[in-house]
């Protein structure tokens, strides 16, 4: 059963709706004791990374999150929180992945936010992209991205520069795109996560 970490950063209606469509049971985590009821966790998040980090700090759940050994999936800003630092609000983050979250340089050819369906290419064998063809499209909407890193990039996407569309370290996974809005492949990815 998936525990969604609740810290007040953005709406999760679409995410829970997707889990319900897929028949993936879930519940909400508000305090440390709640973690024990679940065998995997999602950190959602939209909006401003710095603001999201402040809200997460207020929950007091950070030491627990860092100590988790069961599978964890950060989505969008929930993924960016796993990195060391974001240029958004010059914010120090969880540092589970020692990489940086940077802002896209906007231009007429590469508009910001990066909005729409883009392809992602897994860099290594992994359980998250099982049954998802190389180069499948996912739905992105973000102005900040996680830098490409040979150790931690799980799949890369190109938008002006190559960046981490997803990351992986031990039990921690993160995706920049929105699997709950990414059609069939997004649903496959959520189902895969529920089985890791």
């Amino acid at each position: 059963m998936v525990g969604i970490i609740s810290y007040g950063a953005g709406n999760i209606f679409s995410l829970t709706a997707a889990l319900e469509r897929l028949g993936i049971p879930y519940g909400m985590i508000f305090k440390e004791e709640d973690f024990d009821q679940y065998d995997r966790y999602i950190i959602p998040g939209v909006g401003h990374a710095g603001a999201a980090m402040n809200k997460l700090e207020q929950t007091g759940l950070i030491p627990k999150i860092k100590s988790l050994t069961k599978p964890v999936l950060g989505i969008c800003v929930g993924m960016q929180l796993l990195t060391a630092h974001s240029e958004e609000g010059d914010s120090n983050l969880l540092n589970i992945f020692p990489v940086k979250t940077l802002r896209f340089k906007d231009s007429a050819d590469y508009k910001v936010p990066h909005t729409g369906w883009n392809q992602t290419f897994p860099e290594k064998g992994n359980p998250l992209f099982e049954n998802i063809p190389n180069g499948s499209h996912f739905y992105f909407v973000h102005s900040y991205f996680i830098e490409y890193d040979e150790s931690y990039t799980l799949s890369s996407t190109d938008y002006n520069n190559k960046f981490s569309a997803s990351i992986w370290r031990d039990n921690f996974f993160g995706v920049q795109f929105h699997p709950e809005k990414s059609g069939k492949y997004g649903e496959t990815l959520l189902t895969n996560f529920s089985k890791i």
Binding site: R21, V112, W117, S143, K184
Partner: protein, 254 residues
């Protein structure tokens, strides 16, 4: 590569689709949720719902609609129409809308764009602009193109971008309903002038019009209503032609 997006637009009143729709296989052509689901299956990349409900119950009706769509549909969608304040936007985003589209309210109160961008992030804020040629200028119009404003279209769009618009939905009222093609001249000027995504709207009548708008203006997305609703253009066929013209489109899962 980032794909060009194809966006069907649905007009909704009191929770029901209003423009005629004649899909085969639809149990209820007035049900926006069933229609949305059908479009997502055909390969629409995104949906826009334009709510034209005019009763005091409208926010409640819209929230219910948004929740129903978010429960059933696995692609992003925007909701527009009658969003006047932060509380409207908050309710719709919490119900599962991915973006909100603001038109008249932003023209009347441009600071609303700043407030929405600050409260929710620029990626949630679509500014819809209805433009019509008046004299030799492109002028922003309100109420479906009936009421001219003082604002020149390019100036207003640049102001909206600087205030925190995350995307522009530009409808040419001169082209809307003509099925003679998008307003590629204006769309290119706007698209070259901004660094946020632009959705072209108004004038789609054939598959070639979509090829033209992407090739001539490089906009990010193209929106249409009747050609999709009446089945005159089928999205899989449209995407195939775009692909043959080397325009990047999303590949669907089997």
């Amino acid at each position: 590569m980032l794909s060009k997006r194809i966006i069907p637009c649905l007009d909704v009143k009191d929770g029901r689709t209003v423009k005629g729709v004649n899909f085969v296989d639809l149990r209820d052509a007035g049900d926006p949720v069933e229609l949305a689901w059908n479009y997502s299956r055909q390969g629409a990349d995104e949906l826009v719902f334009l709510d034209i409900t005019a009763t005091h119950e409208r926010r409640k009706t819209m929230v219910e609609l948004v929740k129903s769509v978010a429960r059933q549909v696995n692609i992003p969608f925007t909701i527009g129409g009658g969003i006047n304040e932060i509380a409207d936007a908050d309710a719709l985003l919490n119900a599962g809308a991915d973006k909100i589209s603001i038109n008249s309210a932003a023209v009347r109160n441009p600071a609303l764009i700043d407030e929405l961008a600050k409260a929710f992030g620029v990626q949630f804020v679509v500014i819809a602009v209805d433009t019509r040629v008046s004299g030799d200028k492109n002028i922003v119009h309100l109420n479906g193109g009936r009421i001219p404003t003082e604002k020149e279209t390019l100036d207003w769009i640049l102001e909206a971008e600087s205030r925190g618009a995350g995307e522009i939905l530009l409808t040419s009222m001169d082209h809307d309903g003509t099925k003679a093609g998008f307003d590629n001249g204006l769309l290119k000027i706007i698209n070259d002038a901004v660094h946020i995504p632009v959705i072209a709207s108004g004038g789609a009548g054939s598959v070639q019009h979509f090829v033209d708008v992407f090739e001539k203006t490089n906009v990010d997305a193209a929106l249409a209503a009747s050609v999709f609703h009446y089945g005159e253009i089928l999205i899989p066929d449209l995407k195939e032609v775009l692909r043959q013209n080397n325009i990047e489109v999303r590949t669907l899962a089997e």
